[in-house]
Amino acid sequence: MAALAALAATVGGLLRLRAAGAEGQWRRLRGAGLLRGLLQPDSATGVAAQRRHVAHFTFQPDPEPQEYGQTQKMNLFQAITSALDNSLAKDPTAVIFGEDVAFGGVFRCTVGLRDKYGKDRVFNTPLCEQGIVGFGIGVAVTGATAIAEIQFADYIFPAFDQIVNEAAKYRYRSGDLFNCGSLTIRAPWGCVGHGALYHSQSPEAFFAHCPGIKVVVPRSPFQAKGLLLSCIEDKNPCIFFEPKILYRAAVEQVPVEPYNIPLSQAEVIQEGSDVTLVAWGTQVHVIREVASMAQEKLGVSCEVIDLRTILPWDMDTVCKSVIKTGRLLISHEAPLTGGFASEISSTVQEECFLNLEAPISRVCGYDTPFPHIFEPFYIPDKWKCYDALRKMINY
């Protein structure tokens, strides 16, 4: 469980570099005296050095929300902080805990909260995910609000027993005498450009198979704050996965006051008539771009759906859309086999069989661990999605 805090600190730095352009990084390094002797300029070797790639998506901010009062420009981690701030202000029992949350967290989601609310409410725990979740369940059993942070979703597995065998089943097995509904577990999720096996995973499929918990993935700062607040207030244990690549890259206007976005409700973010595209988290921005490409190059009108809640998921919205369009493409970074696209696909073919014009398409990560240097080839990027869409149209 090597929680590379250094990695996290550089994520922000690197994303900034990305924006500046990859060349900038190499120029800076070449200038450094120490490295001058070591680094050859490209022309000397005759082989183009690999530049760090720009992100595979472009974050598309939603228009400024009007109905929730004053808004402020926030990135994803600031929106999370805002939600946590609101929660601790409203609910005197609420506590936040996990590894390194006291100083502000490796992704800065808890900055300022310990100073504001006190060390008994925002505190570090020892390095032990099964302990973090078990402890959180116990806090919740007494009725207090427990917000547990797992440093990377890749490290949630030691807590799998506590989540699946305990948290998810607490209410059911006790006949509703006891529950841990006031538990929310947050974890950074998804690819980040260089995270490799243990800083890139999207484990939502493991938890989708577990009745009793809720699993939520936001696509943006505005969505994140509203969904996280809903998770915290929901009377069931929730897992909230935060796309880490969006922590700094996603910026939009977010209401300062608390507001809720309902769970188990997918959002049709763009209406269309020919194909339904479904994704969640970062991938929503990929398929949004694919929808533009399809319109431009193929004259195809896409309906784009952000699933938002993986469990329990909004079958009605997805099926209603597929009944209209007749074609479905689902995309996620997580590996293909047993990924959540298979659940959506299976349900849609049961409910909408006669409406389908083509087989349901899944564009996902390969059935491999998440690679480091091969990430650009691994991820289900817009070209793969576009190609799959084209084949569906021509079926």
Binding site: T93, V95, D120, R121, F123, T125, P126, C128, Q130, G131, V133, G134, F135, G136, I137, G138, V139, A140, V141, T142, G143, A144, A146, P158, D161, Q162, N165, E166, K169, Y170, R171, Y172, R173, S174, G175, D176, L177, F178, N179, G181, P211, G212, K214, K235, N236, S264, P312, M315, D316
Partner: protein, 448 residues
């Protein structure tokens, strides 16, 4: 002492670097600091006192040592076993007598014996196919009752599965014990779990779950919340010596200590984890010796001595709440019964070994001898109580048998607080299925 004085001297003299001259003078006392004596040259050259030779590592506060020596774990004469009564029920050290009133001690005895009677009847009922599964508490009744009696009624209990005596002491009705074992319509758990997975919100006994040791970090979280709420409440967490090997136990101990939680960790060391004897479960000095490794106050007690268990738990409770720190009690005892109705322990231990504990060192007989010694109990009362307790148990048993099971629709509720649409569809699908195929299902035994 010398250190504190030297530090104070440093403050007076305004030295910003270690102890300064005053400190050095104090430290020069022969024998106070060996290092000072052995390095006279250094003292002349520098103004750093030998106190700077103390390790500065953030990870540990300890002295340097220049002799290579491994710490030997002391397993031969480990942590001693605290007891109050001898095996014949006589108080050994009168100052340790808790001086409990007769009424209370009789409640101890009646709880333990009623539990024992219920165990016999329910074990038998499983053998006869009336319930699916059962676990007895033979030999460990003292650990349950002694500890439960030392708590407040509102103290939260997290158990493993062999603590029914705690519920018994808190007056959980026989009817509800049986209802859970039979999974009938009176079961507050709505028939969802195997027998002996009791839970009672009113009596602050968190519902039992089968995975071992998962309750340990949960209990710690509950204790933390109780501390924050200024509830004046302790949380007690029971587990066996086998469960103490789980990672969750390590997690729980460490969190309790670092987060300063008012919790009592109560380990029932009964010698076996199903068939695995303690020699294969651990190599150190049991569970009590682990406590200090986490910075936890720890004690080992004779679990078959209900007063020893009582005293230790009482003091642990008082201090845990007053000082917001965890306590570890390892109650040594013996599992006289099989692990469960799915186990036949003659496969891995001798009948003689079991018989010794049953006859020579049983918490119930020890307390009975004590009661008789005090003139608080006699053969007459014993006979009458045996008859009465058996009658109570049989009545509850027969009633539990006759009751129907809960409605099958309860299969679907409480997964979430609210029922999600797809689950409602599944519930409706089962209802429709039963309309057509109902004859193949035991619907007669279930409520509608």
């Amino acid at each position: 002492m010398a250190v504190a004085a030297a530090a104070a001297a440093a403050r007076i003299w305004g030295s910003s670097r270690g102890l300064g001259q005053a400190g050095l003078l104090l430290l020069r006392r022969p024998g106070a600091w060996g290092l000072a004596r052995s390095l006279p040259q250094r003292r002349a050259q520098q103004h750093f006192p030998s106190l700077d030779d103390k390790p500065q590592f953030p990870g540990a506060s300890a002295e340097f040592v220049d002799k290579l020596e491994f710490i030997q774990p002391n397993v031969i004469s480990g942590i001693p076993v605290y007891r109050v009564m001898d095996r014949q029920g006589q108080i050994i050290n009168p100052s340790e007598d808790p001086h409990l009133p007769q009424e209370k001690v009789l409640k101890f005895y009646k709880s333990m014996t009623l539990l024992n009677t219920m165990d016999r009847i329910l074990y038998e009922s499983q053998r006869q196919g009336r319930i699916s599964f059962y676990m007895t508490n033979y030999g460990e009744e003292g650990t349950h009752v002694g500890s439960a009696a030392a708590l407040d009624n509102t103290d939260l209990v997290f158990g493993q599965y062999r603590e029914a005596g705690v519920l018994m002491y808190r007056d959980y009705p026989l009817e509800l014990f049986m209802a859970q074992c039979y999974g009938n319509a009176s079961d507050l758990g709505k028939g969802r779990q195997m027998p002996v997975h009791y839970g009672c919100k009113e009596r602050h006994f968190v519902t039992i779950s089968s995975p071992l040791a998962t309750q340990i970090p949960q209990a710690v979280g509950a204790a933390y919340a109780a501390k924050r709420a200024n509830a004046n409440r302790v949380v007690i967490c029971y587990f066996g010596e086998g469960a103490a090997s789980e990672g969750d136990a390590h997690a729980g101990f460490n969190f309790a200590a670092t987060l300063e939680c008012p919790i009592i960790f109560f380990c029932r060391n009964n010698g076996y984890a199903i068939s695995t004897p303690t020699s294969e479960q651990y190599r150190g000095d049991g569970i009590a010796a682990r406590g200090p490794g986490y910075g936890i106050m720890s004690i080992r007690v004779d679990g078959n001595d209900v007063f020893a268990v009582y005293n230790a738990t009482k003091e642990a409770r008082r201090r845990a709440v007053a000082e917001n720190q965890p306590f570890l009690i390892e109650a040594m005892t013996y599992r006289i019964g099989h692990h469960s109705t799915s186990d036949d322990s003659s496969a891995y231990r001798s009948v003689d070994e079991v018989s010794y504990w049953d006859k020579q060192d049983h918490p119930i007989s020890r307390l009975r001898h004590h009661l008789q010694g005090r003139g608080w109990w006699d053969e007459e009362q014993e006979k009458a109580w045996r008859k009465q307790s058996r009658k109570k148990v049989m009545e509850a048993f027969e009633q539990a048998e006759r009751k129907p099971k809960p409605s099958p629709s309860l299969l679907f509720s409480d997964v979430y607080q609210e029922m999600p649409p797809q689950l409602r569809k599944q519930q409706e699908a089962l209802a429709r299925h039963l309309q057509t195929y109902g004859e193949h299902y035991p619907l007669d035994h279930f409520e509608k």
